[in-house]
């Protein structure tokens, strides 16, 4: 009984977490995108220090023809989904060791959710 309660509790919390994840606020995320904007554009074909993020969601990592990716990212076989982006943005070097993005990571889960919601909106 106790275990069941714990299990339910865990399920509820997990759902709440993914709900929060799904409910990231794209408007707040647009503001948070300032963290990325010195290197990344949301215009297709406009690569800066980092590759364009236009249509990033659903794309396989390291597949834009006109951007030079790190070998690490090419080997990663990641497809950018809400979940893989969340993991990557939280700690890029942990997610894909030796990738070339010089960014320490976004530690706040709520901010990550907002940012991803914005990227999702802009990917449509």
């Amino acid at each position: 009984m106790k275990n069941t309660a714990k299990l339910i509790c865990t399920i509820v919390l997990t759902c709440a977490a993914s709900l929060a994840h799904a409910q990231g606020d794209a408007a707040r995320g647009e503001k948070k995108f300032e963290d990325c904007a010195a290197c990344h554009s949301l215009t297709a074909g406009e690569n800066g220090v980092g590759p364009s993020l236009a249509g990033v969601i659903g794309r396989k990592a390291a597949t834009l023809d006109d951007y030079r990716y790190s070998p690490a990212l090419k080997r990663s076989n990641i497809v950018w989904s809400l979940q893989t982006l969340e993991t990557f943005i939280a700690d890029p070097q942990k997610a894909v060791p030796a990738n070339r993005m010089p960014y320490a990571g976004m530690t706040n889960a709520g901010e990550r959710a907002d940012l991803i919601a914005y990227l999702q909106k802009m990917s449509k």
């Binding site: 010195a38 290197c39 070339r100």
Partner: protein, 590 residues
Amino acid sequence: MATRLPPVDIVIVGMGWTGGILAKELAQTGLKIVALERGAPRSTQNDFSVPLIRDELRYSQRHDLMMDVSADTYTIRNKPSETALPMRRLGSFLPGEGVGGAGAHWNGVTWRWPDHELRIRTKYEERYGKNFVPADMPLQDWGISGPEIEPYYDKFEYTAGVSGKAGNIKGQIQKEGNPFEDPRARDYPLPPLASNLASQMFAKTAKELGYHPYVRPTANASQPYTNPDGMKIGQCQYCGFCERFGCEANAKGSPHITVIPVALRNPNVELRTYTWVTKVLKDSTGKKATGVAYVNVLTGEEMEQPADLVILSAYGLSNVHLMLLSGIGKPYDPETQTGVIGKNYAYQGGANVTLFFEGKSFNPFIATGGWGTSIDDFHTNWNFDRGPHGFVGGAYISVGGSNGRPITYRPVPPGTPQWGSDWKRATAKWYHGALTIAASAAVMPNRYNYLDLDRTYTNRFGQPLMRMTFDYKENEHKLGRHSADLVNSIARSMNPASVIPASARVEPWTVVPYQSTHNTGGTIMGTNPRNSALNKYLQSWDCHNLFVVGANVFPHNASYNPTGPVGALAYWTADAIKRYVKNPGPMVQA
């Protein structure tokens, strides 16, 4: 035979901070502008990306982004009686080369030099009398005042994305800022950077001693930032590869990510890289520049670029060299003290103490270029009485920590062997436990510190090298002793396990090791064509359609790093040139 190119309205020589600011601002006039840069094109994505840029040997030790001394260098001596010899390897200072210039690989420290520096002669005479300034010190007012240049400091700080805390907004002293600074209209565009343990310990001790510590302003962005031109600057990642490196994260205010791309959006602005300007051309009267001669360094082709207006905006020393090579203005002669080109060359002084603490971990590998905590009680503080000390100028004192890189950063206490297993053990032990308190001291002009053309040595194009005659004089020695005593006494108050004490420099200046890239003077601004090369708008007294921008216009070197006024004066001159092109002629009557 040089190829004569179609004429343009404005030619800009050198594409770093000053050339970039002038190109961006003057693009608005619609005039046809050609910018010539002797070095390579540079961008963050192609030149500064990780892991490439984190190569300490290539960039820090072998100076990959700096001036190539096999093509052109300086001959060096301490006094006129010596024979100058060419500097074959960079050391004491590191001029930039390539698009972005030294603005690509600077640390970011951005100061506002106060009114009492700009009106230095007047201020010292008012306070200490006519005899306080020694006869061999050609100390001069700049021709501008603090309030005149304030809006231009603001423009530069907002362009470069400076992080800091104002100390005086419109006369109101601000908590946590530098209380001695001149009044400013508003705060810095970004809040201060995170501070490190070493800076916090210094701030605490300084406060206990009655000083006024504040976080040093610097163009390393504490937050993501969009500047007034819409250019995006990223947040600093504290990677510790700042000075001598380009920033991989676009987080250091640099011309190649701000003013230069803005300028190049305009169809009337063209940038030509690998173009080495050898001379400013003049008409038969010698009173008007007609353009420049340059060499395409990739092909060896010689070109002439006619222009109605010439702007020299290369590294300060290169600007002086070009003026001497072009025969514009009378070269300075230290014996007769006549002539103006090459006059008032100055540099930077100072004294450092290194402290070692048991059980502290300063994590020096987490670092950014200009961060740190400073006190200005002995520099910007005009109430600091120089009278008893008998010197002009002052020193600001800081604890920073721009890097903990493996080749450069190996602090060990006195008495440690210089090699072998004991040295290895000591470097491992003290890597985390050392901090340095640094005094950055002013250097005042002296009649025997100057720049002219060498009689013996030539550069790649057969032109005479520029000769630098420089040494620290009595004023610098007095200031050095004062600074050393001061930092040693602050160090004692911090109770370290051991120290390498600061000592005032007594030996002559040499080109090794690295000291600072704060070379100033040579074509100075001023109020009078008899003792300055340029008027207050940085317009040549001799050729009214020639403007010269950079630290070479400073009549003396204050304690502060030079880039703040270099950027501000570039904006100031851009405004002047916008007026000039409508009504060409001398903007100040001689």
